[in-house]
């Protein structure tokens, strides 16, 4: 179940350089796409591969490409979303740091399919060292004729630019990213119109995640059918999972979709079990914005099936008993973790990162943080717990962009599954006040 597509050759010495990368078959897909396929054929392969966006929402990539407005006389753009902002998610930067040409290779065929002659990599400004790596790789690709005018004599031109953002979570949202790229405040636009119709500089634009684009080369090389055979159900291919928290081996793992969560946590090839032999308490499986699941529900679904790392399995049961694959940020908590403190921390983050455009998110995230602060510091009241659930439900679905939902879900899910911990905080202020109390189990009578 360890299957490498994106991270294939990652252990080859010097793979970051174009020579070594090419000696492993790198960039072969560019020649194939540009010389033997039409742009529509490339799109068709991506549609048939079943590849879904790896940035969090899981929208089918080929379908997104097919929405691009081909009638427009304006230029078209491809943007690679390398903002990677979700707490717990650190797979894209790993990919860009170690095997940057995988991304550039994918971007060339993607741009060809879209008819885009300019592409941008919008990268989080804090990833300064990665910006250097990307620029170096792009330079190498120009030198070897994979970028610039008339690539490999195919008549296709492409320029790729790296654009550092200033490091705001909201700039990972695709329309805020576009605003930021245009040099404005990074605030989300209202949809519709969708970027495929009116995106960067009001021109047709596709925004794709780093990992999504890194899959394109393999699909072009090996064909849609081979890709569609990897994975399970509607979760095709592999997924990068960035695992962190109380585990023995934090890191980025490429898994074939459908790997049981239990195997992922306990097998030596992956997380290698919980640190210091402790018990597992809960997991946030897809980056901080997705609902947390307690041990029982992360290892098995509500109807007793093995929970798998796939879009369908993780969301089985809806938000009552399920979660989401999201961006694959796998955060593991052991028995000592305090769920209230953790929820408060997440809430602080979303409050800090709300762009402030729409009232439910701007006001709601600050209110939730304030109430959670009270509860965590021993000043909470019983009714605060229901109030939090209420506030979350009033933000959810009423905002311009999904940041509001992302702020509401972790709070709602933590209370749904760990209500007793919130109640304990309220009932025992003397225990939780001003100390690092960790798990509350030890205090329970």
């Amino acid at each position: 179940m360890e299957r490498k597509i994106i991270l294939e050759h990652i252990d080859v010495k010097g793979i970051r350089s174009i020579e070594v990368y090419r000696s492993m078959g790198g960039y072969d897909s560019v020649a194939k796409a540009l010389k033997s396929m039409t742009p529509d054929e490339v799109t068709e392969q991506v549609i048939n591969s079943g590849l879904r966006g790896r940035g969090g929402a899981g929208f089918p990539t080929g379908r997104k490409w097919s929405f691009i407005d081909k009638k427009s006389n304006n230029p078209r753009y491809l943007i690679c979303n390398a903002d990677e902002s979700e707490p717990g998610t650190f797979k894209d930067r790993y990919l860009m740091e170690h095997i940057p040409h995988r991304l550039i290779e994918g971007m060339i065929s993607a741009s060809y399919a879209l008819g885009a002659n300019t592409a941008y990599i919008y990268v989080r400004g804090e990833f300064k060292y990665i910006i250097g790596i990307l620029n170096q790789s792009i330079k190498e690709a120009y030198q070897q004729g994979f970028l610039g005018k008339n690539i490999l004599d195919s008549g296709f031109d492409l320029d790729i630019y790296v654009h550092p953002g200033a490091g705001a979570y909201i700039c990972g949202e695709e329309t805020a990213l576009i605003e930021s790229l245009e040099g404005k405040r990074g605030t989300p636009r209202l949809k519709p119109p969708f970027p495929a119709i009116k995106g960067l500089y009001d021109c047709p634009t596709v925004v794709n995640n780093v990992e999504t684009l890194a899959n394109i080369g393999w699909i072009v090389n090996n064909g849609a059918e081979s890709y569609a055979q990897i994975g399970i159900g509607n979760s095709k291919g592999t997924k990068l999972i960035s695992a962190c928290g109380n585990i023995n081996k934090p890191g980025v793992y490429e898994i074939e979709m459908g790997l049981p969560v239990e195997t992922f946590i306990y097998n030596e090839k992956f997380c290698g079990g919980i640190k210091n032999g402790k018990d597992l308490k809960a997991v946030i499986p897809g980056g901080s914005s997705v609902p947390i699941l307690p041990k029982e529900l992360i290892l098995k679904t509500a109807d007793g099936k093995k929970r798998l790392l796939s879009y369908e399995s993780l969301s089985e049961g809806g938000f009552q008993t399920g979660s989401m694959l999201g961006s694959g940020g796998f955060i593991v908590y052991n028995e000592n973790a305090c769920i209230v403190r953790n929820t408060y921390n997440l809430s602080r983050f979303y409050h800090h990162e709300s762009c402030g455009q729409c009232s439910p998110c701007r006001e709601g995230t600050s209110w939730m943080e304030a109430v959670l602060h009270r509860i965590e510091h021993g000043h909470g009241k019983q009714k605060d717990i229901d109030l939090l659930v209420e506030i979350a439900s009033r933000i959810e679905g009423n905002t311009i962009c999904p940041l509001g939902d992302a702020a509401a879900w972790p709070v709602a899910a933590a209370i749904r599954h760990f209500r007793h911990e919130f109640e304990f905080h309220v009932e025992h202020p003397e225990i939780v006040k001003n100390i690092r109390h960790g798990s509350l189990a030890k205090y329970a009578k």
Partner: protein, 321 residues
């Protein structure tokens, strides 16, 4: 141009392509019109932010009758042929609107008794219709140091609901824009570029577009309550603007000059600062007559015109049936 059929709260109307749900609802008028705090028809790009106008699309169009999965902003969603929308008839919409009002009020100082906007404040109206009697917000409200933005306009950041209307107005009506939004999230604030003051022939319009009492007229502050004043339509021959204004009089004295606002609180013509701030004598103006004010507004209190005949009230009607 093809006409589109549009239904809101069981009332149907034909509208032109490109009309938004809010505009279509305003054509019908009355209770089906969703409230709007950030949208302003005269300001391009406004709307979509405050979320007070959320409605439910129960049927997308006759071609694709599926309902839309989430509530949508009426001010920015265009009508499609056969669209069916629920405003007050949807419990979800009513709940969402109550939620938005609660959110808007948690940090608003609710200082209506000393606020110059009282009596013509959209937030006051909105809270009256959709607010609740008790507050669940126990924390301290967000407060700011006052920001001086020049000799004509007083800015009370505490009252600002961040609707962006003044930003769009400054952007679109005045040259050399010096003001906008700083910071992010709940810490966002309206401010000027490195303590510049807003001095510009059309800057006074920022006061008119502000739905709450965050931007007020320094030449009028605390001089009177609006419901004691008599609004009159008046005009003058102005080289800079249309010169069409509302004069707010007490006796013969002009207390303030504003743009003429329609029933949705939007000014009909933006006016220049000379008309607004400098022409404070009745003799500067050709007075056309009293402005009609909707009877539901507090401004119509104690006034001189009965706008409509009272309805026949029959409290026993229900019991008799």
């Amino acid at each position: 141009m093809a006409k589109l059929k549009f239904t809101i709260d069981n009332q149907t109307i034909e509208v032109e392509q490109g009309t938004t749900i809010l505009q279509a609802a305003r054509m019908i008028g009355g209770k089906v019109v969703p409230p709007a705090m950030c949208y302003y028809s005269k300001l391009q790009g406004s709307g979509g932010k405050c979320r007070t106008c959320l409605v439910r699309v129960a049927q997308g169009s006759s071609k694709d009758p599926r309902p839309m999965p989430k509530l949508v902003a009426a001010c920015r969603t265009e009508v499609m042929d056969g669209m069916v929308v629920e405003n007050l008839t949807s419990p979800d919409v009513v709940a969402a609107r109550r939620a938005v009002v609660e959110f808007l009020l948690i940090n608003h100082p609710l200082d209506c008794p000393v606020c110059d906007q009282a009596g013509e404040c959209d937030l006051q109206d909105l809270s009256y219709e959709h607010g609740s009697q008790s507050a669940r917000f126990e924390e301290e409200k967000r407060t700011y140091e006052p920001i001086d933005i020049g000799p004509l306009i007083q800015f009370h950041p505490n009252r600002c609901i961040l609707c962006y209307r003044c930003v769009y107005a400054a952007d679109q009506l005045t040259d050399k824009r010096v003001h906008g939004i700083l910071y992010r999230g709940e810490k966002s604030e309206i401010s000027t570029f490195i303590s510049q003051s807003i001095e510009n022939d059309f800057s006074g319009n920022l006061i008119d577009v502000c739905p709450v009492g965050a931007l007020t007229d320094k030449t009028f502050r605390f001089k009177n309550r609006v419901w004691f004043l008599k609004p009159m339509d008046a005009h003058r021959d102005c080289p800079k603007c249309s010169g069409k204004v509302a004069l707010w009089l007490r006796g013969e004295e002009v207390y303030r000059v504003t743009g003429r606002k329609d029933e949705y609180g939007e000014v009909e013509d933006f006016i220049c600062n000379e008309c607004r701030f400098e022409k404070k004598q009745a003799s500067d103006w050709i007075i056309e007559g009293p402005r009609s004010i909707t009877p539901k507004s507090v401004i119509s209190q104690n006034h001189y015109r009965v706008l409509s005949k009272p309805h026949v009230i029959n409290p026993l009607k229900d019991k008799m049936e």
